[in-house]
Symmetry: C2
Protein backbone atom coordinates (compact mmCIF):
# COMPACT_ATOMS: atom_id res chain seq x y z
CA UNK A 1 0.00 0.00 0.00
CA UNK A 2 1.18 3.52 -0.70
CA UNK A 3 1.55 6.21 1.96
CA UNK A 4 -0.28 9.31 0.74
CA UNK A 5 0.69 11.58 3.63
CA UNK A 6 1.62 11.86 7.27
CA UNK A 7 -0.36 14.45 9.19
CA UNK A 8 1.41 16.34 11.97
CA UNK A 9 -0.32 18.58 14.47
CA UNK A 10 1.02 22.12 14.69
CA UNK A 11 -0.42 25.11 16.57
CA UNK A 12 -0.26 27.55 13.63
CA UNK A 13 -0.10 26.67 9.94
CA UNK A 14 1.96 29.58 8.54
CA UNK A 15 5.16 29.19 10.63
CA UNK A 16 4.94 25.41 10.34
CA UNK A 17 4.77 25.62 6.53
CA UNK A 18 7.79 27.92 6.54
CA UNK A 19 9.81 25.59 8.80
CA UNK A 20 8.95 22.41 6.90
CA UNK A 21 9.42 23.91 3.44
CA UNK A 22 12.88 25.13 4.43
CA UNK A 23 13.93 22.07 6.42
CA UNK A 24 12.67 19.38 4.05
CA UNK A 25 12.98 21.34 0.81
CA UNK A 26 9.27 20.66 0.37
CA UNK A 27 6.83 22.10 -2.18
CA UNK A 28 3.49 23.58 -1.09
CA UNK A 29 0.69 21.62 -2.75
CA UNK A 30 -2.09 23.31 -0.76
CA UNK A 31 -2.37 25.81 2.06
CA UNK A 32 -5.19 27.58 3.86
CA UNK A 33 -5.69 28.73 7.45
CA UNK A 34 -6.57 25.30 8.75
CA UNK A 35 -4.11 22.98 7.05
CA UNK A 36 -1.41 22.60 4.43
CA UNK A 37 -0.12 19.80 2.25
CA UNK A 38 3.60 19.74 1.44
CA UNK A 39 5.08 17.45 -1.20
CA UNK A 40 8.44 15.82 -0.57
CA UNK A 41 10.36 13.35 -2.68
CA UNK A 42 8.35 10.19 -2.03
CA UNK A 43 5.23 11.28 -0.14
CA UNK A 44 3.51 14.32 1.39
CA UNK A 45 3.34 15.92 4.83
CA UNK A 46 0.06 17.42 6.02
CA UNK A 47 0.26 20.11 8.68
CA UNK A 48 -3.00 20.23 10.60
CA UNK A 49 -4.49 21.97 13.61
CA UNK A 50 -5.16 19.62 16.52
CA UNK A 51 -8.73 20.95 16.70
CA UNK A 52 -9.32 19.63 13.17
CA UNK A 53 -7.51 16.30 12.89
CA UNK A 54 -5.46 13.96 15.05
CA UNK A 55 -1.92 13.08 13.95
CA UNK A 56 -2.30 10.24 11.45
CA UNK A 57 -0.95 8.38 8.45
CA UNK A 58 -3.03 8.25 5.26
CA UNK A 59 -2.75 5.32 2.87
CA UNK A 60 -4.16 5.16 -0.64
CA UNK A 61 -6.64 2.33 -1.14
CA UNK A 62 -9.02 1.64 -4.01
CA UNK A 63 -11.06 -0.32 -1.46
CA UNK A 64 -11.08 2.32 1.28
CA UNK A 65 -14.80 1.70 1.87
CA UNK A 66 -14.07 -1.70 3.32
CA UNK A 67 -12.68 0.09 6.38
CA UNK A 68 -15.86 2.12 7.04
CA UNK A 69 -18.19 4.76 5.64
CA UNK A 70 -16.31 7.21 3.44
CA UNK A 71 -16.50 10.99 3.68
CA UNK A 72 -16.12 12.72 0.32
CA UNK A 73 -13.77 15.72 0.17
CA UNK A 74 -13.86 18.81 -2.06
CA UNK A 75 -11.16 17.42 -4.34
CA UNK A 76 -13.17 14.29 -5.14
CA UNK A 77 -11.21 11.97 -2.86
CA UNK A 78 -13.05 10.11 -0.12
CA UNK A 79 -11.70 8.68 3.09
CA UNK A 80 -12.36 7.08 6.43
CA UNK A 81 -10.41 7.33 9.68
CA UNK A 82 -9.82 4.18 11.71
CA UNK A 83 -7.80 3.31 14.80
CA UNK A 84 -5.27 0.52 14.70
CA UNK A 85 -5.54 -1.82 17.75
CA UNK A 86 -2.60 0.03 19.35
CA UNK A 87 -3.93 3.59 19.50
CA UNK A 88 -2.62 5.05 16.21
CA UNK A 89 -4.94 6.79 13.75
CA UNK A 90 -4.95 5.73 10.10
CA UNK A 91 -6.83 7.31 7.19
CA UNK A 92 -7.67 5.16 4.20
CA UNK A 93 -8.00 7.43 1.19
CA UNK A 94 -9.75 6.54 -2.05
CA UNK A 95 -8.38 8.55 -4.96
CA UNK A 96 -10.74 10.71 -7.00
CA UNK A 97 -12.25 9.05 -10.05
CA UNK A 98 -10.24 10.23 -13.02
CA UNK A 99 -12.45 9.13 -15.89
CA UNK A 100 -9.35 7.61 -17.42
CA UNK A 101 -11.21 4.48 -18.34
CA UNK A 102 -13.98 6.26 -20.31
CA UNK B 1 13.98 15.21 1.03
CA UNK B 2 12.99 11.57 1.18
CA UNK B 3 10.98 10.00 4.00
CA UNK B 4 12.84 6.89 5.15
CA UNK B 5 10.25 5.72 7.69
CA UNK B 6 7.51 6.71 10.09
CA UNK B 7 7.88 5.21 13.55
CA UNK B 8 4.72 4.29 15.44
CA UNK B 9 4.62 3.31 19.08
CA UNK B 10 2.99 -0.04 19.83
CA UNK B 11 2.87 -1.95 23.12
CA UNK B 12 4.04 -5.29 21.67
CA UNK B 13 5.94 -5.85 18.42
CA UNK B 14 4.61 -9.27 17.34
CA UNK B 15 0.87 -8.49 17.11
CA UNK B 16 1.62 -5.08 15.62
CA UNK B 17 3.74 -6.64 12.86
CA UNK B 18 0.94 -9.11 12.12
CA UNK B 19 -1.69 -6.34 11.94
CA UNK B 20 0.38 -4.00 9.77
CA UNK B 21 1.63 -6.70 7.41
CA UNK B 22 -1.94 -7.84 6.80
CA UNK B 23 -3.54 -4.40 6.66
CA UNK B 24 -0.93 -2.63 4.52
CA UNK B 25 0.30 -5.66 2.58
CA UNK B 26 3.74 -4.78 3.96
CA UNK B 27 6.97 -6.78 3.82
CA UNK B 28 9.04 -7.40 6.95
CA UNK B 29 12.50 -5.88 6.43
CA UNK B 30 13.63 -6.42 10.04
CA UNK B 31 12.09 -7.67 13.28
CA UNK B 32 13.34 -8.35 16.78
CA UNK B 33 11.72 -8.06 20.21
CA UNK B 34 12.17 -4.30 20.43
CA UNK B 35 11.24 -3.04 16.98
CA UNK B 36 10.37 -3.94 13.41
CA UNK B 37 10.74 -2.29 10.04
CA UNK B 38 8.06 -2.93 7.43
CA UNK B 39 8.44 -1.94 3.80
CA UNK B 40 5.46 -0.56 1.91
CA UNK B 41 5.21 0.75 -1.63
CA UNK B 42 6.92 4.12 -1.21
CA UNK B 43 8.42 4.14 2.30
CA UNK B 44 8.74 2.08 5.48
CA UNK B 45 6.90 1.85 8.78
CA UNK B 46 8.88 1.27 11.97
CA UNK B 47 7.01 -0.27 14.89
CA UNK B 48 8.75 0.67 18.13
CA UNK B 49 8.20 0.30 21.87
CA UNK B 50 7.49 3.61 23.61
CA UNK B 51 10.27 2.84 26.10
CA UNK B 52 12.77 2.83 23.22
CA UNK B 53 11.75 5.63 20.85
CA UNK B 54 9.15 8.36 20.56
CA UNK B 55 6.83 8.38 17.54
CA UNK B 56 8.78 10.13 14.78
CA UNK B 57 9.43 10.62 11.09
CA UNK B 58 12.87 9.81 9.69
CA UNK B 59 14.21 11.61 6.64
CA UNK B 60 17.27 10.65 4.63
CA UNK B 61 19.92 13.35 4.51
CA UNK B 62 23.51 13.21 3.32
CA UNK B 63 24.10 16.17 5.63
CA UNK B 64 22.40 14.73 8.73
CA UNK B 65 25.29 15.91 10.91
CA UNK B 66 24.28 19.50 10.39
CA UNK B 67 21.29 18.81 12.66
CA UNK B 68 23.42 17.51 15.58
CA UNK B 69 25.83 14.80 16.71
CA UNK B 70 25.14 11.54 14.90
CA UNK B 71 24.76 8.14 16.57
CA UNK B 72 26.01 5.27 14.39
CA UNK B 73 23.78 2.20 14.12
CA UNK B 74 24.70 -1.46 13.57
CA UNK B 75 23.77 -1.28 9.89
CA UNK B 76 26.21 1.54 9.21
CA UNK B 77 23.65 4.30 9.09
CA UNK B 78 23.95 7.22 11.50
CA UNK B 79 21.29 9.57 12.74
CA UNK B 80 20.24 12.32 15.08
CA UNK B 81 16.86 13.06 16.63
CA UNK B 82 15.64 16.64 16.74
CA UNK B 83 12.41 18.35 17.73
CA UNK B 84 10.62 20.63 15.31
CA UNK B 85 9.51 23.93 16.94
CA UNK B 86 5.98 22.49 17.29
CA UNK B 87 6.63 19.38 19.40
CA UNK B 88 7.10 16.73 16.72
CA UNK B 89 10.17 14.45 16.68
CA UNK B 90 12.22 14.11 13.50
CA UNK B 91 15.15 11.80 12.83
CA UNK B 92 17.68 12.78 10.18
CA UNK B 93 19.29 9.63 8.88
CA UNK B 94 22.55 9.48 6.99
CA UNK B 95 22.72 6.40 4.74
CA UNK B 96 25.54 3.91 5.20
CA UNK B 97 28.60 4.49 3.03
CA UNK B 98 28.30 2.07 0.15
CA UNK B 99 31.80 2.22 -1.28
CA UNK B 100 30.22 2.75 -4.65
CA UNK B 101 32.62 5.55 -5.44
CA UNK B 102 35.78 3.54 -4.70
Amino acid sequence: MRLHHIALCVPDIVPAVKWYVETLNADIAFQDETWALLDIENTSIALVLPSQHPPHMAFESLEAEKYGDLTTHRDGTASVYVQDPFGNTIEFLKPAATGATL
